[in-house]
Amino acid sequence: MSVDFCGLRLAHPIINGSGTFDAIAARRAFGDELLERFPFSAFVSKTITLAPRAGNPPPRLWEAQAGMINSIGLPNRGLAGYLEHDLPRLAQLPVPLITNVMGSTEAEVARLVEAVDARAEVGAIELNVSCPNVKTGLDIGADPASLASLVRAVRPLTRKPLIVKLTPNTADVGAVAAAAEAAGADAVSLVNTLRAMALDPNSGAPWLGGRTGGMSGPAIRCVALAQVSSVALRVQVPVVGMGGVARGIHANDLLSVGAVLVAVGTENFRDPCAGARIAAELKSLQIAGSGSTTVNLSEPQPEVELNCGNSS
């Protein structure tokens, strides 16, 4: 089951989705047993920004059909706090660290990448580009051009593997992924949450403190699978697939369409050991032989469908 990912040797293909597992808080709750039986083969940090962020006002959670919407708002200690307070503690984990960063300007991202690059504890850097471009208002990750320029700008600033985490809220995620690859990304990861909304059943006003939020969990799994599949068909670099993974077969599906690693997010909330469980389920699937043998999806679609393959 062990996997080589951009030069990192991982014990199995299951990691966590950024922001869905806080190893420092989990150690407060579970103690050192967490270090002895760490559920993931690598640990991805919550998104770090240059300045500290308090995050969104509550309520931050809405439970949806087979999933949830969150408007957490990227609370974090900021770069300095992360480097000084969090990183030494995270370095005690038995697995490689991937630090997820986000900035709203190229300069901000550059400073984040440089600072994280300087730290030996960090094995790879993940860029969260689900952040509106201050000029266009559009998510940087939704627009191939602005994403490419961002990646080109920060790529030279680190020798560590650079993973670009794509947003699903775009028309052609394959094109965005291709742009990231061309600009020098070592890997891409997807999906981030789908933009979603819920209203307070009593007042009819938006429930979430952030008004809208991001949908995650099983409800988005089939959408994520389609996006990971089209990205894997467009890029050569390794793909980290995620979105609604709750069991080994779901991870296997993502690997089948071309992902190299699978990240588990929301399921961690229901089962703190979901990562280890899913890795074990995946292993038994692969022993049983029904394991992922990447299927060839690149054949054209049935003739009649060339025009409207994905429409009803």
Partner: protein, 271 residues
């Protein structure tokens, strides 16, 4: 006070369940697990049929303070207010559920003094479980405990039976049992009587805010067991935050649910 949780969720057998007035008490076998601290909570989800309620909910586990923990068995007291509690209230002997915990920080004893402060417990509705667990712990240490509890009506006031330690006085909104009015009336009277106490409170946000204001006005130290919507219970989702007087937020599941009242400007009305 915090007991560490075993890593991961465990599948636990329901050892029985009974109705206590408007509430459901569910007993869960949890052999060999560490003893929790009063005020700590667990995340529960039915092993079967979790997700077929209104709008296909519940999906996430639900947080519950424990009422009693003894002989490898945990007891929870819950009220059916939505799809999650509804499903859990259906569970009977032999059914199974997913259990994680204990989580969070429990109550802290009054500092010894001298002269030692008495423990005065104030609760409402489903705020009873953590207070009842705390009353037992204090009584076991030979401390004097008194409690004031508020309920909607007589049917709910039966829940006061679950407060099996300390001397208990009850208030109901409709006056059908005990004092006709708010539990904070009883609290005020008790404080008039003797305010060299630490107040421990758990209940609906409105009641907790009234307790906080009352204690703040009289300079009485108080520990409040709060509630917030939670997805995980162990600090993973950052969903359960409460704003602090000092600014910023804390995650109630890891830094609470018990908070010193003076850390809050106000008890948030919904989170």
């Amino acid at each position: 006070m915090r007991t560490l949780a075993p890593l991961g969720r465990r599948r636990a057998r329901v050892a029985g369940a009974d109705d206590v007035g408007a509430y459901r008490v569910v007993h869960v076998a949890d052999p060999g697990a560490p003893a929790p601290q009063p005020g700590q909570f667990y995340m529960l989800a039915a092993a079967e049929g979790w997700g077929a309620g209104h709008d296909e909910r519940p999906y996430l586990p639900r947080a519950f303070s424990y009422l009693r923990a003894a002989d490898g068995q945990l007891s929870f007291m819950l009220e059916d207010v939505g799809p999650g509690t509804h499903r859990l209230a259906q569970l009977t002997d032999g059914d199974e559920l997913w259990l994680t915990g204990p989580f969070g920080e429990g109550f802290r004893a009054p500092d010894p003094g001298p002269p030692a402060r008495r423990a005065l417990l104030a609760g409402g509705g489903v705020g009873v479980p953590p207070l009842s667990a705390w009353a037992h712990a204090l009584a076991a240490d030979g401390a004097a405990v008194s409690a004031v509890l508020g309920f909607r009506d007589a049917h709910h006031a039966v829940g006061a039976e679950l407060m099996t330690a300390g001397d208990v006085s009850v208030a109901t909104d409709d006056g059908s049992v005990g004092h006709h009015g708010l539990v904070t009336d009883l609290l005020a009277t008790a404080l008039d009587d003797d305010d060299h106490v630490v107040v421990y409170a758990c209940g609906p946000p409105g009641m907790l805010e009234a307790v906080r204001a009352l204690c703040a006005a009289r300079d009485v130290p108080a520990q409040l067991a709060l509630e917030a919507g939670m997805a995980c219970g162990f600090g993973a989702c950052y969903g359960c935050v409460v704003p602090l007087a000092a600014g910023g937020y804390i995650r109630l599941c890891v830094d609470g649910p018990v908070l010193d009242a003076d850390r809050l400007d106000a008890v948030p009305l919904h989170a």
